[in-house]
Amino acid sequence: MDRPTPRINSKRMQYYVGQVVRMTGKMLRVNGDTAIIESTDGGQVEVRLSRDSHLSDDFVEIIGNVEDPHTLKMLAGCDMGPDLDMQTWDTMIEMMHKFPHIFMDPEQARLL
C-alpha cells in the first residue's frame, strides 16, 4: 500500500496490467469463486474473488490486480449499497484522471 490505487473503469484495464487498481461496478453474477461486474463505463470485467470475500450488495468496489484487460484478481472489496449512479461515478473517474495529482501519482493516470 505504498502507492495510491488509481480508480479505473473497464476501458482502462489494458493500461494497468500487472498493477493494483480500484474498480467500482454493479454485480451481474457470481459463480463460486468468480464474479462478473459491470464497470461504470458499461464494460464487463471478470473478478476472481478472494477466498474470504463476502460481498452482498448490488454495487461493489474491488481492489485488485489486473491480470489481463478483462480480469481482475481481487485482493479486497467492499459493498457500496443498493444504488449507485454509475454515470456520475464514471464522470468522476474521468475527472480523476484528468486532474491526477490530487487523486493518484500523476504518472498513473490515463487520459483517454
Binding site: D85, T88, T91, M92, M95, K98
Partner: protein, 599 residues
Amino acid sequence: MSLDLTPSACSALMQDVPPEEYRPTLQVLSVKQVNTGPTGPPRMRVIISDGEYFTQAMLATQLNHLTEKPEGGLAELDKNTVIRLEKFASNSVQNKRLIILLDLTVLGNPGQKIGNPASFEVAKAESHANAMPAPIAPPVTIQKPAQPAPGGTRPASMPRNGGPIFPIEGLSPYQNKWTIKARVTNKSDIRHWSNQKGEGKLFSVTLMDETGEIRATAFNAQVDEFYELMQEGKVYFVSKGRIGPAKRQFSNVSNLYEITFERNTEVEPCLDASDVPEVKYQFVTLEGLQDIPKDATCDVIGVVTEVGELGEILAKATGRSVPKREISIVDRSGFSCRLTLWGKSGETFQAPDQPVIAFKGVRVGDYGGRNLSFQSSSQMSINPDIPDAHQLRGWYDSIGNTQATRSFSSAAVAGAGDRGQFSRSELKTIAQVKDENLGMGEKADFFTTKASVIHVKQENFAYPACRSEKCNKKVVQTTDGRWECVSCGLTFDEPEYRYLLSISVADHTGQAWLSAFNDAGEMLFEMKAGDLQNLKESDESQFSRVMSDVRSKLYNFSCRARQDNYNDQTKVRYNVSRMTKLDFKTEMKALVENMKAYM
C-alpha cells in the same frame, strides 16, 4: 503506429452521400477559433488534409477540450497533428459541403506537413467548370406550395435578386444586401391593437436555418401581403427586410436582432428545402425542470397521460375570457408535469392514444413545484419522427405506463421528495449571502445554501405554542397553571412545544446564524420539540448526545433574509423556510455541472 494518411479521404468525405463506417487517417493543418458572437461555446475551424488535398471542417464542441494548450505547449489537437476520424457528419451549407468532426483519435504529431496538399474546393471547381451552380428542385408530389414560384425559366432554388444567401447568424443592421433561405417554424395569429397612437395589426414568424433563428414581424399592409403566403413548415427566401434590435419582451428567440417586413421586402417560396433543417430541439428531462428557473423557456418531450377539459379563465388584463386546457406529460425520468395550453392551442388540442409530443419554447413556472406553459411563441409536434420520440414510445409502451411517476407537488418523502421546491438557481455560498448584503434592502431576499450545522444554541430551543391549528403563537402561563394564547384567546392545559432554533451553519466560504422553526427542528433532531424538552429535563447526558449528534450534518437550506428591529437594534435575520436532506445523486450531478465550467 503508422501515420500514413488515407488516400483520397477528402474527396470521399466531401461526397454528397459520404461512406458509412469510414475512419480515414488525416492530418490537421490548422486549428482556429471562429467568431460565434457573445453566447455559446467557442467553435474551432480545422483544416484537414489527406496529403493530396485539404479542406475545411468544424470541430464538434464536445471535442473542444482537445484544442486547449497547456502553458506554452502544443494542444492535443494542433497544427500537424495526425488523427483518425472516428465519426463525422456532413452538412451542406450554401451549396458547399461542411464536414463536422464528431469523434476522433489523436495518433501523433510528426511536427511537419505531410505531402503538399492543395485546396480541395479549388480543384473541384476547376474540374467542373461548366456545372450548374444550383441543384434542380426535386419534384413536389405531396404538398404544393401555396403560390407557384414566380418565373418559370430559372430554377426555383435561386433567389430573384441574385444576392448571396446569408446565414441567419450573420444578419446585422450593417448588412443591407442579404437574402436568407429559412423555414418558418412558428407563425403567430394576426393580432390587432389599439392605443393612443392609433391602431393596427401584426403577425410574427420565427425563421430558422442551419445557423440560427430570427424573429420577423409584419405590420399593417405587410400583414395582408405576407400572412397567407407564409406557412409554417415551409421554406422561403426573404430579402430586403429591416434588421433592428430584438424586442425581448415579445419573443424568446435567441438572436440579438429581428427582422421587420417593409414595403420593399420580398418573400419567395423555395422549393428546394433539403438543406434547411427542421425544428431543432434541446430537450430537458421533466426531472431536470427543477433546475430551470421560473420564467425561463425550454424544450421538453413526453407522453401525454391526461388531457383535461377545456376551461375558461377571465384574464384580468383584458377582461376577456381565455380558453385554457391542462394536460399531463411523463418522460423517462419518471416525473410527470402539468402543461397548460392557452387560447387556440388549448381549444384545438387533440391527443388520441397517449401520443408523444415534443414541445419547443414552453415557459417554466413554479406552480405546484414546477409546471409548463404553452405560449404563443411555443411549438408542439405530435408524434414527431425523431429518435427521442421513438425511444419514449418504446419506454412508455413497455414499462413507462405502469411505473409510478413522481410529480413536483407530491407530498414530501423524507430525503427524496423535497427536491421539487429546492431552487438551485438561488443557490449561494455563505460568503455570497454576506457580500451581496442579502436581506439588507427594503424587501426580503430569498436564497438557498448547502451548509453543515456547526452548533445549535441549547438554551430556549423551543417555546410553548398555541395548540390551535395554524396559530403558532407563544402562549403564556396563567395563574392556575394553564396556558393562554394571547391572539386566539384560547386556553390549554398543555402547550404544544415548537422549535425555535438558532443554528450556526458553515460552508467552505463562511459561517452564519440561521433561525429555524418547527419543521426544520424535527428534521434535525428527528423528534418533536416536546420530547426533546422532556429529555432535557430527565436525561442530561442523552440530551447532550442528541445536541452534539447534529453537528456536521449537511443540509440544503431555503432561507429568507430580512432586516429585523429588535430592542432598537437592526440586524439581518436569516430565517429557514425549508430544510431538506441532500439527495446525493442530484447533488453530484449539480457539482459535476459546476466543475465542467472549469474544465
